[in-house]
Amino acid sequence: METLERIIAEHPFFAGLDDSFVNLMVSCASNLRFKAGSYILREGDTANTFYLVREGKVAIEIRAPQRKPIIVSTLSVGEILGWSWLLSPFEWKFDARAADDVRAIALDGKCLRTKCEENHDLGYEVLKRFARIMEERLEATRLQLLDLYAVK
């Protein structure tokens, strides 16, 4: 069975970061389970955590008045969920719902944020990693907006 330490240490997001920092992240990480249909985070709530999805699928949703929520994208095994803890005002901008039973590792974003303020080298490394994730998702969103399969 994979240990929490090993999963975090081997995840590409943490690759190349200082061991002492990775150990710190491990020490305040926790394994969580979310039942299908339950919400992992809600728009407007304080964002102090981010998640590494280990199993299942997470739907990123936006709620709309007088209609059902709209699924913007899904995240699955190995992906990072949540970056609003990194940027002021530290509030979630979307909902994230477990589309099926989800296992995830919760990581302490607030602790990481504090460490990044104290150590700008670390802060730069963390920002680079999140910039990569943001770039991938922005590119995917742009393609999605093109509505490529529609009749032109």
Binding site: K57, A59, K68, P69, I70, I71, V72, S73, T74, S76, V77, G78, E79, A99, D100, E136, E139, A140, L143, Q144, L146, D147, L148, Y149, A150, V151
Partner: protein
């Protein structure tokens, strides 16, 4: 080199076929099963090739063959009703006549894929020209490595061959991942563009051949993703689409740089057309 199959009859002369079945795939897409009125006609085609279908009195259309190449007594075409001629075609009734020219063009490189993993990336109706290839790989399973099918559609109701996708996923050494751009709350699959599926696929780039068909913008981004993952450009094949008329390289309607899509394609090895894909004017 991708070889086109020689046509034995006059390539400009449509052969009489009859509609035997029209199956609704999505609200605007239908699969027609055609059988030759003349028993001499056999549907010898390579996966990836296309035919010109005459709807008499309306017009002629290039349509990829989407059926099983092992079933030579029939031809299947999956057609999206988007204009006058396609609308007339999908509204043919059982027993109605359709003229068929072809098959034309190059097919998917099944020989180059032998002994290797096959990555199929399809978007929208682009799954139709890839379906004969999937049939061929599944029928000759031991000749190929893993089969990875990545398919993106607009919404769940726009996905083609949903039952078959589920059935293909049950084959050994076969992974099928489907995503949609817009998923309702009842959709249990992925939501996002097809390129987001690569991170869930278990690829072995050094021993893989990729075959791609879909909107050209999608194919550009897929080829970039495949190169980033380590696939050699020489192992990437794309099926291209342009307006066609004669289908045999006479008229020039489908000219694409130095190529005619109808006879040099529609399936191209990526390096053949890579510089053209980057040209704004084309």
């Amino acid at each position: 080199m991708i070889m086109a199959t020689a046509i034995t009859t006059d390539p400009m002369l449509p052969q009489p076929y009859s509609v035997r079945e029209v199956a609704k795939e999505t609200p605007d897409t239908f699969t027609l099963r055609l059988e030759p009125e003349n028993a001499v006609n056999k549907s010898m085609f390579q996966p990836g090739q296309f035919s010109m279908l005459w709807v008499f009195g309306v017009g002629e259309l290039p349509i990829s063959i989407s059926g099983d190449p092992a079933l030579q007594d029939r031809l299947l075409y999956t057609v999206r009703s988007v204009g006058q001629a396609t609308h007339a075609l999908v509204n043919r009734g059982v027993g109605d006549g359709v003229g068929v020219r072809g098959p034309f063009g190059t097919g998917w490189p099944l020989e180059a894929a032998r002994g290797r993993d096959v990555i199929v990336v399809a978007g929208g109706i682009g799954l139709a020209p890839l379906r004969p290839l999937i049939y061929q790989v599944l029928r000759n399973r031991k000749d190929y490595g893993r089969l990875v099918i990545l398919y993106g559609g607009r919404s769940p109701r726009d996905l083609l061959y949903r039952k078959e996708l589920a059935a293909w996923a049950r084959h050994r050494e076969t992974q099928v991942l489907v995503t949609v751009d817009y998923g309702g709350l009842n959709w249990r699959g992925h939501v996002g563009v097809v390129t987001t599926l690569f991170k869930y696929s278990r690829l072995q780039p050094a021993r893989s051949v990729a075959m791609i068909c879909g909107p050209e913008i999608m194919m550009r981004f897929v080829t970039r993703e495949l190169e980033t993952l380590g696939l050699s450009r020489d192992d990437i094949y794309l099926s291209m689409e342009r307006n066609m008329k004669c289908a045999v390289g006479f008229c020039g309607h489908c000219q694409y740089g130095p190529h005619f899509i109808c006879k040099d394609g529609p399936v191209f090895r990526y390096p053949q057309i890579r510089n053209l894909l980057e040209k704004y004017e084309l």
